[in-house]
Every structure is written in structure tokens, then in C-alpha cells.
Subunit: 189 residues, 2 copies
């Protein structure tokens, strides 16, 4: 059931870093994005894969983690992602992208969840520095970085309060809590 897979597909930020992800697995995940919808079927998205420690490190140091967890600077060594998929837009194909990258990211992460992996969609990226470090030509606009690994944390969904508070938080046991708005709040009209 797709509902179980979507429920399982939480945003994870701590991983068993020693559990590696094969390059071919990343290719299979990108294939899920390839088969997904694209506006006017233009398919402007391109993908840069990383599952090798030195390349992973070059990506990791240009990412910002979990804005609401003010006293947590991000995953420490040993709990960092084992792999990344950088989603870029090929400006020679489309000058701007509306929601193709969201469609692609969701397909990839559902595929990861099915394989017992997990990840996080990161848009808070030092793009100029990442471009330099990975030697990405100007032709490609960096849109998102998907961090991937075997999740090493527990994430639970809970009902957002009446105060509308939606900031996620981490309890003393390290469980990550994510308040979601109710169905009645998000269906209007």
C-alpha cells in the first residue's frame, strides 16, 4: 500500500554511515524519477550521484540541517548520509522549473523507503561552493540535494496543536517529532 510507504518515508537526518549504498542503487532510484511526470515532458532535470566518502564529504559540508533544532549542528561523523543525489536543472532544456524536482524527489525517496533506506530533501545548500567543489558547469542550476542512508533515528508524526505550531522537535530519547496539520485544516472550500 502506497500509504504505508508514504508514512514510512519520513525525513531522516541521522544514519548508520557505515552502511554503504551502491552506485547501482542510486541509478535505480534516479530511474524512478526518470519515469515520473515532467512539465511538457521536457525532462530538464539531471542528477549527480555520490556514494564515495571523499565526494560525500564535499557535499556534506555545504548543507544546512534541521533549522528548528538550534543546538544541533547536523549529523556527526558516523551518522552522516552514505550517499547523495544532487538534482540540477539543465538550463539548455528549461530556463525554470516549477515542480518537477518535487515530483522527482518524492519518487526517489519512496524508492529509498521501499529498500529500507531513508533520506532528507535539502534545499538549504551553499550552492556556489557546492558548484565549485563538484565542478558543476554553469549550465546546471542546483535545485536540491537528497541525503540518503540507512536511518538511525526514530521519527513520529503527531497532530499539530490548535496553536498551529508545526516546528519539529527532538525528545530526550532522540525521537524526532513532526506535527502535521489535520486533514480538515488543509481541505478548504
Amino acid at each position: 500500500m502506497i500509504k504505508e510507504l508514504i508514512a514510512k518515508n519520513r525525513s531522516y537526518r541521522r544514519f548508520f554511515e557505515e552502511t554503504t549504498i551502491e552506485y547501482d542503487t542510486l541509478r535505480e532510484l534516479v530511474d524512478l524519477a526518470r519515469l515520473s511526470a515532467s512539465a511538457a515532458n521536457l525532462q530538464p532535470l539531471k542528477y549527480i550521484l555520490s556514494c564515495e566518502p571523499r565526494k560525500n564529504a564535499r557535499i556534506f559540508r555545504n548543507l544546512a540541517w534541521a533549522g528548528y533544532l538550534k543546538d544541533w549542528p547536523g549529523p556527526s561523523e558516523g551518522e552522516r548520509p552514505s550517499a547523495y543525489i544532487v538534482i540540477v536543472a539543465d538550463r539548455q532544456i528549461a530556463f525554470s522549473v516549477d515542480c518537477d524536482h518535487g515530483i522527482a524527489a518524492q519518487s526517489i525517496l519512496l524508492g529509498a523507503a521501499e529498500r529500507g533506506l531513508g533520506g532528507c530533501i535539502i534545499a538549504s545548500v551553499q550552492k556556489d561552493r557546492l558548484r565549485q567543489e563538484l565542478d558543476i558547469p554553469d549550465r546546471y542550476e542546483i535545485l536540491l540535494v537528497l541525503a540518503l542512508g540507512k536511518p538511525a533515528e526514530s521519527v513520529v508524526i503527531e497532530q499539530a496543536g490548535r496553536d498551529g505550531e508545526i516546528k519539529y522537535w527532538r525528545d530526550k530519547e532522540g525521537t524526532h517529532h513532526v506535527p502535521k496539520r489535520s486533514l480538515d485544516e488543509i481541505i478548504i472550500g
Copy 2:
């Protein structure tokens, strides 16, 4: 397998219009979007549901269909969508949306595919007119319209040619062909 579901989840534009979709089914589909990722967990997306002929007609006449099929003005009576989900952004929550609507649309359409339904993500919408017809307050920005129904056409994926031609086309039997770029073309670096 998520791959089969993603492969099944084509963009459909002709439907068995007499096959209705229940309001509760639309709610279940929106619940899949509700449980999906949202940037900074802000959850600015709201949803307007329609599965009633008069409301459907008010939405339908503000949509543009299949830009590449120049001699096809869109589905005729009897093959139009049975339902719609209009995705809007609540500007009181977030001033702009990056890719949340793509994530949400993909979750909803995968849920539809699992139920034997299908649909199409439509961004080419006469938004001002649709706002008037559905009486949508200015607070909400119209992002996408998802057209939904029981598919009445066959859609096949094929390999994009070396010439890079990606325009979809319809053959004499009415089968819709969608050229997709190869995995080797979209993985770079």
C-alpha cells in the same frame, strides 16, 4: 513495488467520465499529500476538492490540455475528468513554495494509480478566472490542478530519440506515446 506503480502512473487526459469518484476518495488522496514532506514542515498547501458535475465544469473550462497535440482541444464530453484536486498555497503560511506542490502531486497521483484511477498535473490554468468561479480568496495562490478519473486511453513510454525529441504524440489508434530521456543522459558528472 513502487517502480510498477510509478510506471503505471502516466499522465492521462481522457477518462470514463461516467465513473464517478467519491468525495471520501479525494480526502484519502489528500491525506497522502498531508503525510508527505514539506519544506521546514510549514505545510502551506491547501486543497480544494471537486467531484460534482457543475463544479467540475467550472474547473474544466479554465484548463489547457496537451500543448503538443495541436489539433486536439482537450477531452470532449463523456471523456472528461470525474474529479479535481486544486492545490493552492496559503500565503499566510508561506509566501512562496519551492517544490512542496510537486511532492504532494506525486503522492496523490500514486495513490490514484493504486486505486485504478489516473490523472494529469495541470499547471496551465486560467488562474484569475478559476479564482472567480470557485470564489477562492486572495489569501490562496493557485498552484496546480490535478485532473482525476478512470483512464480511457493507453499511454506508453518510449526512448527519446538521439535528436532529443521529447514531444509526446498520439498514433492513429489513439495511443499516447511519451519519449523519455535515457538514464545515461540524465545522470551527469
